[in-house]
Subunit: 355 residues, 2 copies
Amino acid sequence: MKKHLTVALDAMGGDLGPDMVIPGAALSAIRHPNVRFLLVGDQSRIAPLLERHPHLKERAEIRHSDVFVTMDAKPSQALRQGRGKSSMWLAIEAVRSGEADTAVSAGNTGALMAMARFVLKTMPGISRPAIAAIWPTLRSESVVLDVGATIGADATQLVEFAVMGEAMARCLFGLEKPTVGLLNVGVEEIKGVEQVKEAGRILRDASLPLEYIGFVEGDDIGKGTADVVVTEGFTGNIALKTAEGTAKQLASYLKQSLMRSWLSKLGALLASGAFAALRDRMDPRKHNGGVFLGLNGVVVKSHGGTDALGFATAIDVALDMVRNDLVSKIKTDVETMNALIKPVTAPDKQPEISL
Amino acid sequence: MKKHLTVALDAMGGDLGPDMVIPGAALSAIRHPNVRFLLVGDQSRIAPLLERHPHLKERAEIRHSDVFVTMDAKPSQALRQGRGKSSMWLAIEAVRSGEADTAVSAGNTGALMAMARFVLKTMPGISRPAIAAIWPTLRSESVVLDVGATIGADATQLVEFAVMGEAMARCLFGLEKPTVGLLNVGVEEIKGVEQVKEAGRILRDASLPLEYIGFVEGDDIGKGTADVVVTEGFTGNIALKTAEGTAKQLASYLKQSLMRSWLSKLGALLASGAFAALRDRMDPRKHNGGVFLGLNGVVVKSHGGTDALGFATAIDVALDMVRNDLVSKIKTDVETMNALIKPVTAPDKQPEISL
């Protein structure tokens, strides 16, 4: 592995753009003293911010672009308008050309996935990329995918997600044999989850080199029952956002409860260390970074509303994936999978978009 | 409305059967002094328990059955073995015959739905029943459906769920115009949710007498953005269980944080009133009761693992639905709906089971 990794950052992504991305990169530059940064976006906004962070400046290069993908642009629109010139496109293109080892963007998820598919292409043997989230659990953390790259997945695609998520869990958690579960409902005899049942049969019978533990339910995610939880993108996205909503709801309940009397306020003051630890553990900035799996390159999506600390976490995740050779691991595993399972589905077409 | 309502209880349902159901009924009998109880199940187990609750005994009747549906029976198996004689079947049958006004069971969900569909039949104009959960939110509570009656739903079925859920919200919350949202993902341009988009178009354009507010995302459920959240059963079930799992996870984090030092333990002691209030607010026993909608009668499913207090809550919900005339409200609304929207789907067939 080369000594100096380079991370390409879409400096214009996220709710605050460079005002969040550049301080995030500055934080990351402290954490990763040998990493170089390619900052793609409006030079006139990036350069003055860079002046405040000399340690970042000496390891950063600005690539000017004055085309930005807006947070509410439709993927097809973003592709049409941002192809070849937007900050998002150029950050991904730097990965394709080998100039950068990974790209991170806090921009529009749909646009980022559409561009990443277009530029980096889907890996051979994979019919469809997925977005994997790192989900904090009672045991530690789990990988949950797909959380929104595509809606729906057939049995083979679910098996591909299992293989890719398992490789990611090895990179991320350093586990040799992460456990893999398929998200399902608790009812045995129901229509419509044929693809989930069929994926379960394949994972059980195909002697893939992964530790399949069977079906898991929604409450198993937070328990950490499996290191990798596999589902299709619609359900995965709704599960992720429902959990985020529930966490906010309970934090708000807790705050309200503690404000109800002077005695409980005093108690809260004495226990403030405990609450700080709790806040820290629940801090969404510590679990930021959706990893795009199944492409010829590592692209990580940061939450759009995060701050510098959260963005630095997303860069951590991206670098972790590169250092642990995620793409090669997936390639090897996909070859094994395809040797064991007859290829069933043709690759998805690239998005049907006239450019 | 007649003066004395009767609730039929499947005394054998739930993890503990009569040991949980009879004390639950006893609690309910205090709350509802004019309600009568039909206790269906093993006489030799119910009678001694009833002796301990004279106030319940004088308003209760035991209907003996020595056939019980096990918690892990498949619905088809349960129907074959429990038809016409199991405690679950007889409790539902009492609703059909008019002997009881509603039935409550903490038994196997799939079996209960299969039997309820078989005995009570789906309402005219409704193609498929749903299970609605009462979901605590930051604003108050919302109705979320379907949380697991069936997997998948087409646009018309989603609209039916919206109409039924809205009627339930009027009964439950006393709102004149509850708001209705369709659960979707945040990505605009995606495949596969055609049925959700189409349902949205119908709800927006068909001038139904309900307050449709558009798409909502997973985190909107806990916020209480809509009084009624509509989705199909697979996603709804996973969202519900994911939220339950997240709540348990955070409660466990909180406990761990407070145990970390003597200072935080002291703080927790002083704030114990606040934590009691929080526990009370999060208490799943206070939000117990999945309402079966779209049948000619009210059946409520209690959590299998609940205790007497939780079971009494499920009985509260069932009585609320009956007192507010849920079935008639839905019937009226479904007629209005079908007058405004051309009927698109044929009713689902009854479960294909040879008995």
